[in-house]
Amino acid sequence: MKKESRKKLVMSIIMAFISVIYLTPIFLVLMNSFKTNDSINMDTFAFPSEETFVGWANYIKGMTFGNYPFANSVAYSFIITVASTGLILICCSMAAWYIARVGDKVCNLVYYLCVFSMVVPFQMVMFTLSRTADSLGLNTPWTIPIIYLGFGAGLAIFMFVGFVKSIPLEIEEAAAIDGCGPVRTFFFVVLPMLKPTLISVGVLEIMWVWNDYLLPYLVLDRNKHMTIPIHIQYLRGSYGTVDLGATMALILLSIIPVIVFYLLAQKHIIRGVAAGAVKG
C-alpha cells in the first residue's frame, strides 16, 4: 500500500513537471511581448532585462500596426462569433425539432444532406461559397453569420436531432392537450430541455468561429473588415520586416479571452468537445 502511494506521488510530480513545460509557450509569448525585437530574435528564452524591456510599447504599436486598428478586428471577431453561434443554436434546434418530430421523406432527405455535409472539407466549397456570399451581399460581419449557419448546420442539426429523439413525446403531447401551439411548445417546453445539448453545440461553434481563418478571409471584404486570425496573418504575411514584438503583444491579447472563457466554462467545454468528437 505504501509503495503504491509513493508511486502515485512520483507520477504527480512528473505530470506537474510536464504541465509546466506545457504552459511554457504561453509564458514565452507573455515574456517576449515586453521585449525589443532584437532580443526576441536572438534571446527568445531570456527574461526581459533592463536594456531589453520596453514596457507597453509593443502593445501600443500593435494596436495601430498596419493601418488597421486591432480593436476593430477584436470587435468584429466578437460580433461574428456571438451572432453566428446564437443563430446556429436557435435555427438548428428549431430545424432539428421539426425533423425529429415530423419525420417525413423531406425531413429524412434534409437530415442525410446535413450528415453528408459534415464530411465535406471546406476547400471543396470555398471558391463557389465566397462567390455566392459576394453576390448575395453576405460579405459583412453582420451577414456572415448566415454563411456560418449554412456551412455549420450539419453538425448542429445532427447533434440536436440525436438529443430530441431521446426526449419522451408525452411531455409535448401534454403541452398540446393543454392548448400549447407548436411555437410555444418549442420555446417553453422543448428548448429548456435541450439545454445540455445547446451548451455542447454552443461551445463547439464558439471555438470554430472564433478561430476560423479561411472562411472569413475569403468571404469578408478585407479592406473594411478583419477578424483576429486574419489580422495576425495579415501582419505577418504582408510585411517584409516583421515586427515580432507587436505580433507577440497581439497574440497575447487574442489568447486572453480564450483562456478566460476556458477557465469560466471548463466543465462545459470539455464535455461539449467530447460529445462533438464522439458523434462527429
Binding site: L28, V110, P121, I146, A176, G181, I228, M248, F261
Partner: protein
C-alpha cells in the same frame, strides 16, 4: 420513429414549416448545397470566375494529377498524417491512463493539457515559429530553411494542440470501463500489466477508433498551422517545377485557386479529389465502428 409520433404533435408542427425548417434550409442551400454542387460541376470546367466557365470534361483532373507539386503535397500530407496520428495517440493514451489512476492534481493536469486546443491555428503557428526560431537561431538556421525542421516543427505543434483533445476522449473511455470487470480481475489475482492488456485496451477499442480517424482527418485537413508556420518553405525547383517542400494538401489546393488566377479549374478538381479522400476516410470510420458494434 414516425410511427411513434402522434397526430397531435405532427400536424400542427407541419403548418409551421416556414418558421422551423425553411430559414435553416435556405441558409444550408446558400452555405453548402449550392456551392457544393456548383463546385463539383466547375471541376469539369475551365474558368476564372464562375460566370465564364466552359466545359472541358476531365481536362482539369489530368492537369491536377500531372502537377508535381500536388502529388508531392499529397504524399507529404499522407506521411505527416500517419506520423502525427501515431505520436499524438500514443502520448494521449499514456497521459489519459496516468490521469485516471487517482493521482493528486489530476484535474489540474487535465485542464492544462487541454488548454492549447482552444487556440486557433494561425496563432499557434506564430507562437511556435517564434520558439523554434529562437532555438534554431543559435545554430544559424531557421524553421523555414530546412524541410525536416518544418515537418517535425509542425508535428510538435500539432502534438501540443491535440494531445489534450484526444486525452479527453480516452479519459471518457477509460472511465466507462465497468468497475466489476476490474474487481473480478483483482480477485483472480491479475497483475497491473495483465489488467491493462487484457481488460483496459480491449475495452478501449471504440475510443481508439474515434481518435485514430479524428487525427487522420485532422492531419489531412490541416491548413492554418501549415500556413502560419512555414507557408510551404523551403522551395525547390523553379517555375512550373517548383515544389514547396513543406506544403500540405489543403494549402496546395488553396494556392491553386488564388495564386494562379488564369484557370481555377485544376484547383477545383484537386478540391474534389481532396473531398473524396476525406469523405472516404469518414465512411471507412463509420463502417469500422458499425462492424465492431455488431460483434459486441
Amino acid at each position: 420513429m414516425t410511427a411513434l409520433n402522434s397526430k397531435l404533435i405532427r400536424r400542427p408542427i407541419q403548418r409551421y414549416v416556414w418558421l422551423f425548417l425553411l430559414p435553416t434550409f435556405a441558409a444550408f442551400c446558400v452555405g453548402f448545397l449550392y456551392p457544393f454542387f456548383k463546385g463539383f460541376y466547375l471541376s469539369f470546367c475551365k474558368f476564372r470566375i464562375t460566370k465564364d466557365a466552359t466545359f472541358v470534361g476531365l481536362e482539369n483532373y489530368k492537369i491536377a494529377f500531372s502537377d508535381s507539386s500536388f502529388l508531392y503535397s499529397f504524399a507529404y500530407t499522407a506521411v505527416f498524417a500517419v506520423v502525427s496520428l501515431l505520436i499524438i495517440n500514443v502520448f494521449a493514451f499514456i497521459v489519459a491512463y496516468i490521469l485516471t489512476q487517482n493521482i493528486k492534481g489530476a484535474n489540474i493536469f487535465r485542464t492544462v493539457f487541454f488548454m492549447p486546443n482552444l487556440i486557433g491555428g494561425i496563432v499557434l503557428g506564430y507562437i511556435w515559429l517564434m520558439i523554434f526560431d529562437g532555438f534554431l537561431t543559435r545554430y544559424n538556421t531557421a524553421v523555414v530553411l530546412e524541410t525536416k525542421y518544418g515537418f517535425w516543427g509542425l508535428i510538435i505543434l500539432l502534438c501540443w494542440q491535440q494531445i489534450g483533445y484526444m486525452m479527453i476522449i480516452y479519459i471518457a473511455g477509460l472511465q466507462a470501463i465497468p468497475e466489476d470487470m476490474m474487481e473480478a480481475a483483482d480477485i483472480d489475482g491479475a497483475t497491473k500489466w495483465q489488467k491493462l492488456w487484457k481488460i483496459t485496451i480491449p475495452n478501449m477499442m471504440p475510443s481508439f477508433t474515434i481518435c485514430t480517424f479524428l487525427s487522420l482527418t485532422n492531419g489531412f485537413k490541416l491548413y492554418d498551422q501549415n500556413l502560419a508556420l512555414t507557408n510551404g518553405r523551403p522551395f525547390t525547383g523553379t517555375g512550373a517545377d517548383q515544389i514547396k517542400t513543406t506544403q500540405m494538401l489543403a494549402h496546395n489546393i488553396v494556392e491553386a485557386f488564388y495564386a494562379s488566377a488564369r484557370n481555377r479549374g485544376p484547383g477545383q478538381a484537386k478540391a474534389v479529389v481532396f473531398f473524396i479522400l476525406v469523405a472516404g476516410i469518414s465512411v471507412a470510420q463509420l463502417r469500422f465502428t458499425r462492424s465492431r458494434e455488431v460483434q459486441q
